[in-house]
Amino acid sequence: MQQFTVHRIGPEIKIAGIDLSFTNASLFMILSATLILLLLFVGSKEKKIIPDKIQLITEMFYSFVAKMISDTAGSKAKPYFPFIFSLFMFVLFCNMVGMLPYSFTVTSHIIVTLIMALFIFVAVTIIGFIKHGFKYLSIFVPSGVPTVLMPLITIIEIISYLSRPVSLSVRLFANMMAGHTMLKVFGGFVVSLGILGGWLPLSFSVALTGLEILVAFLQAYVFAILTCIYLNDALNLHH
């Protein structure tokens, strides 16, 4: 669990009694953001008709997220494209940077994912009320449900709506933490079983690393697409 510890780097910064020191978590957030900005800078530097590799990668990211948004939330979600793009890139790069040995995984901390999920939850709720007023509350009352079941369904809908930030944040956090813990456990097995028996967990570790890279991408994708779906609920009332 040592890989998840947060420790201060540099001097202690206290503002109004709250510790806001620069930590290794902050360092890796900045590192991920810098990598994203670097990629985008190199990728959009030249206006080539035939793109080179890095330009192609940035344009693939762009069209990937654009397609994801238009598929799930429609054309009304276009103003939120920069936010979802930033969110996807940030989560993806934090996950991927966390896959490097000796690095720190920002997204394996519940507080980080919870803040992101809460922000999305609050923002989506506000957008919903701005777009539809009190009619937005009809999201809790699905149509075509028998009157007898209506109170129960409404309560379930409210609970499921309120649990969105929790499920969104815990999904990302738990996936990242579980994957890294598993890698750590198998790595420990390699050491403890030594040169004779260590080959099996070593091969497992290799396979798990591949799986974890997939999970890192998949969780970023899931996080972004769930944001799109919540946004879709707020923009287009379906119920």
Partner: protein, 191 residues
């Protein structure tokens, strides 16, 4: 699974210190939560602003440019294709016209030549006929002349012969009349 995890989370967040101490999950140690939230908001805001204001419009511009360029090029290609088809049709028309003209010219010149040849031939034939007629006339004139001169000669010879044989000088006109009479009778035999 989801609800189980959230349940654990709620319990854990209520008794953070206790659980963190037992399981040793650094995630649940609240010492640096404020710091993480602060830095997350700071870094993400900067990232969001620079992406939204600077990079995304650039990438979008790039993509739009490419799409427009491809569309324009395709339109141009189609236009050029149409143009080339029109040109090809024109060319074929010109070729056809030229072929028609060639055959026309060929026919015309052939007809002209034929006519010329015919007219020249006719002219020559007429000339030849004229020549022949002329020659015939000359021949008949010669014949006539020769007859009178032969008669004259025969009158002279006959006069001389008779003079020599009988010694009488005969009247020339009577001899002439006899010769004319004889020659009229026998002219067909000689000519």
């Amino acid at each position: 699974m989801k609800s189980f995890l959230s349940f654990i989370l709620i319990i854990v967040s209520v008794n953070t210190d206790l659980y963190a101490a037992e399981a040793g999950m650094p995630q649940l140690d609240p010492t640096y939560w404020a710091s993480q939230v602060f830095w997350l908001i700071l870094v993400f805001s900067i990232l969001y602003i620079s992406i939204a204001k600077f990079y995304l419009p650039k990438i979008k511009n790039n993509l739009d440019n490419r799409e427009n360029k491809i569309k324009e090029d395709l339109e141009d290609a189609n236009k050029f294709k149409d143009q080339s088809e029109i040109k090809l049709k024109e060319y074929e028309k010109i070729l056809e016209n030229a072929k028609k003209e060639v055959s026309k010219i060929y026919l015309e010149s052939k007809n002209n030549l034929d006519k010329e040849i015919r007219s020249k031939k006719d002219k020559i034939e007429k000339e030849i006929e004229n020549e022949i007629v002329k020659a015939h006339r000359e021949i008949t004139a010669l014949k006539k002349n020769s007859i009178t001169s032969i008669q004259n000669i025969s009158v002279n010879i006959a006069g001389n012969i008779i003079e020599n044989l009988s010694g009488d000088k005969l009247n020339e006109s009577s001899v002439k009349a006899v010769v004319e009479d004889v020659s009229k009778k026998n002219l067909d035999k000689y000519l």
